[in-house]
């Protein structure tokens, strides 16, 4: 690939007790590109994302950031590198208000005194760009609807200046308009030169915004496809494993073509 990768995973394995959640997974994330990560339920997508985010340290394999090997053992490490993550389970503090959640771990402050006004202002602007109506940015997130919570979680990832944004099923709970907004947002992030990892079960969304699709199946890589040149059916076949052979054949073919 011509463009250099910001983040590269090589041979990642992760075990949870008796469950081998990830086996020897590779992934390249390129700046200015949206890579979709798809796979059936339990394929290991969220686990992969959590290893990148430092929630679960990897058992084996290596992570490279802008070409040099790094170790990500805790969420703080990932943040330092510039990885922002929206988790599938949102990870919000119900007792804190919207502003506090948005800026958690990244507060605007003078010395260590919080600058509530700067944060509130920024929060309003951010939520406006996502065109979400929240009764007040000062209510605890516990009293928000599921979709509103999801937008707060997404907005959280845009605070600070990330280089890689990971969205784990960001549109699962969203309405038609908000979904479109999030897809717009993903495109805007790409235009700004950020790398985006998008996990989604919605093939239409993937087709709409992603440049490449990486398929995980039972915790293993099952092919990386170019969205422009791959049909819906091929991706779905890779996800379900119905035509493993076709995928491998295809990969072999493209690799051969590339080599020529």
């Amino acid at each position: 690939m011509a463009k250099e990768s910001v983040l590269a995973l090589r041979g990642i394995s992760k075990r949870f007790g008796a469950v081998q959640a990830l086996t020897d997974v590779d992934l390249e994330v390129v700046a200015g590109e949206v890579i979709a990560l798809v796979g059936d339920n339990g394929a290991g997508k969220s686990t992969l994302v959590k290893t990148i985010a430092g929630v679960h340290p990897i058992d084996e394999g290596s992570i490279e950031w802008e070409g040099r090997p790094v170790s990500i053992t805790r969420p703080h490490d990932a943040q330092e590198l510039g990885i922002a993550t929206v988790y599938q389970d949102l990870a919000l503090c119900d007792n804190l208000d919207v502003v506090a959640n948005l800026f958690l771990g990244n507060e605007a402050r003078h010395a260590s005194v919080l600058d509530e006004i700067a944060m509130e202002k920024r929060a309003m602007e951010l939520l406006d760009t996502l065109s979400i109506r929240i009764p007040s940015v000062r209510i605890p997130v516990a009293s928000l609807s599921g979709g509103q919570r999801q937008v707060v979680a997404i907005a959280r990832a845009l605070i600070g200046d990330p280089k890689v944004v990971i969205l784990d099923e960001p549109t699962a709970a969203l309405g038609v308009e908000q979904t479109a907004q999030v897809l717009d947002l993903v495109e805007r992030l790409r235009e700004r030169g950020l790398a985006v990892i998008l996990i989604s079960h919605n093939m239409a969304d993937v087709q709409a915004v992603a440049d490449r699709v990486a398929v995980l199946r039972l915790g293993r890589n099952n092919g990386v496809f170019d969205v422009a040149t791959t049909s819906h059916e091929e991706v779905i076949a890779a996800i379900t494993g119905a035509s493993d052979n076709a995928v491998t054949r295809r990969q072999a073919r493209t690799e051969k073509e590339a080599a020529q």
Binding site: D97, A100, L104, M124, A142
Partner: protein, 441 residues
Amino acid sequence: MSDTVDKERGTEDTKAGSGSAPADGADGGAGNGAADRAVDPRLLVREQGFAGYLTEFRRKVRGGELGSLPVILGLIIIAVIFQSLNENFLSAGSVSDIGVYIAGTGIMATGIVFVLLLGEIDLSVGSVAGVGAAVWAVLSVTHGLNDWLAVLIAIVAGLCIGGLHGFFFAKVGVPAFVVTLAGFLGWSGLQIWLMGQEGSINTPDGSVVEDLTGYYFEDIAAAYGLALVGVLAYAGALLVDARRRRAAKLPSRPVSEIVVRTVAMAVVAFVAAYVLNQSRGLPLALVLFLAVLVIADFGVRRTTYGRQIFAVGGNAEAARRAGINVEWVRISVFGIAGMLAAFGGLFIASLSGGATKSLGAGNTLMNVIAAAVIGGTSLFGGRGKIWSALLGILVIQSIQQGLNLLGMASEIQYMITGAVLLAAVVIDSVSRRTQKTAGRT
């Protein structure tokens, strides 16, 4: 919670009264900047001005957001009942005594509020208070160490003990309940061992610890001056905040609210100052307690560290994923609780004339925890205010004072204090349930 009359910009929704979000200054009345923003038509828009205030207030109460209302009502009822039974209850001397007696346990309760905000409990504070007093007495009186240094070492000992509890809880993963229960036994053992054969060490005349509860600023200017400074600082903070928010085009408190708050604060402060001046003047103990409260409140509401405490108490995993060092927050909070326990223990030693083998034993622990809970801090973590330590300990101390004046035996006091604690927890649970049905958690 003193924010029962909090207002929110043009909405029905307000910060959950019983102190969820630590952010202050967030709520505003008439939405200046909100006018041009898309507003959900289903939201009930608050009427402008003072009438809107009362509507909003009634709505909150019905929604189960009682804030400090029950405690303040409780204090008034306590005052009325005891005053009608014994006219000395509200006498200057009696009120002044309450002001001194609340300091030690109140400071310990402040530490407990920190721990409760984390969603944990510290059962060892009574024993740690005993160890603090014993360390000071042995070093200063028996070994003749410099008094100030001995006080400092006692407080640092409390900090280390609390930090040790936090270590076992955060790093080793032992439930805080068990760690501090072990501490409760172990540290009272250390206390008895330190006190040795004597069993008690009297506070020498003129020592620092004697002054803790024995010193009064007799000049009437002291009490009035402190009241004035407090009120001006409070009003100033509100005004500056409102101006900055208006400048940033954010909803801000209306002037009417600032005036009401300032007047309420001024009435309380100056009446208290007047009554204290009728007796022996402004007690040093009360000044120190208020200082602890102000510092702790600032730390909890206005700093990143305080925000981290609320986050860990609300959802530790989310806090961890946000890059917060959860273990450090836990260890340090237990350290603070231990430090304030030891500091409070010195006040108790000062009141009772010295350190003893049994200082901090008995119902000290229960009173301290009860104070934090009665004041409105949730037992379930992430919700509460530092000032609940003051309100709660006032309730408990007032009851004790009143029953003492009536000459009631301590067993009756235990039963009544127990009933008040139960009432407070019932109010907390019921209001939480009402909040749930009203769309809050």
